[in-house]
């Protein structure tokens, strides 16, 4: 059988990769993708716990389900915003979008 810790390790790796992407990618959509990775990492955790935890409740899976749903909504809104930015400045490099700073 697969130990629970393996899942958590994978999840942690995925999450860290997402963080890495969040800090290093320039393109706003790439940032969005990094976020999706992080959400997936959390979902792996939830589902894994849901499976390994004793008891009838499948709270983790339910939670993960909602996360998936919200991820979709988030992606939709995020992309709409990114397109909006694109319309204004004709690119979507997040680090060049800094009219406001300091």
């Amino acid at each position: 059988m697969v130990p629970l810790s393996w899942y958590i390790t994978v999840s942690a790796a995925l999450f860290s990769l997402g963080l890495f992407g969040m800090m290093t990618r320039r393109n706003a959509i790439a940032l969005l993708m990094s976020i999706e990775l992080m959400l997936n990492a959390a979902n792996i955790n939830l589902v894994a716990f849901s499976s390994y935890l004793r008891g009838p409740a499948l709270t983790g899976q339910i939670f993960a389900l909602f996360v998936i749903t919200l991820a979709a909504a988030e992606a939709a809104v995020g992309i709409a915003i990114v397109i909006n930015v694109y319309r204004a400045v004709r690119h979507i490099n997040a680090d060049d979008v800094n009219l406001m700073k300091w």
Binding site: L32, N43, S51, A73, I79
Partner: protein, 186 residues
């Protein structure tokens, strides 16, 4: 044992794909890798006996979100290709931070679960070594019959509020996305 091998393979695919997502310069390709990564996660769900979630993962993440992202990329990438350097420009800060984060998560989260059943939970600080009886030790606890009916029942009984709320959220997101994204035709 077979499970473990399968897990290692799937995990490797997922992580490598994810790494590609955040590393390779071409954004369209990284979107493709994202789909692979999502699929890997779905496979992990199956390993965890969460078939319904796996289905949802494929449908929504791979089927909807990735496609949406690709559309957006195509829409915004007039200068298609790798002309603009897409790669990380602050990798020197991102990489160590990500490594630190990984170390943090593994030390604080993974360590306690290394031997969840043995009662010798190891944690870096002075956590009490109390047997955690709510962790099941084998797979039979994960219901042999599918989880889907149970999820359905939970969603419509106790979790009806989040369920309805989710619909409202989707509505709001929809409206918002449309309002933001649509061209003003005046």
């Amino acid at each position: 044992m077979g499970n473990q091998i399968a897990f290692i393979v799937i995990a490797a695919v997922t992580i490598i794909a994810a790494a590609c997502v955040v590393i390779i310069p071409n954004i369209l390709r990284s979107a493709l890798f994202l789909a692979f990564s999502f699929l890997g996660v779905a496979a992990l769900y199956i390993l965890l006996n969460a078939e319904f979630l796996a289905a949802m993962q494929v449908l929504i993440y791979v089927g909807a979100i990735t496609v949406l992202i690709m559309f957006a990329i195509v829409l915004t990438q007039q200068l298609m290709g790798a002309k603009i350097k897409q790669s990380s420009r602050a990798w020197w800060i991102g990489a160590p931070v990500a490594v630190l984060a990984f170390l943090l998560f593994t030390t604080s989260f993974v360590t306690p679960f290394k031997h969840p059943t043995s009662g010798t939970a190891v944690s870096i600080a002075s956590a009490p070594a109390v047997p955690k009886d709510f962790y099941a030790e084998n797979e039979q606890a994960r219901a042999s019959e599918g989880t889907t009916p149970k999820i359905a029942e939970m969603l419509l009984r106790p979790y009806v509020l989040p369920f309805e709320l989710a619909s409202l959220i989707l509505l709001a997101a929809l409206v918002g996305a449309i309002v933001i994204a649509k061209e003003e035709n005046e």
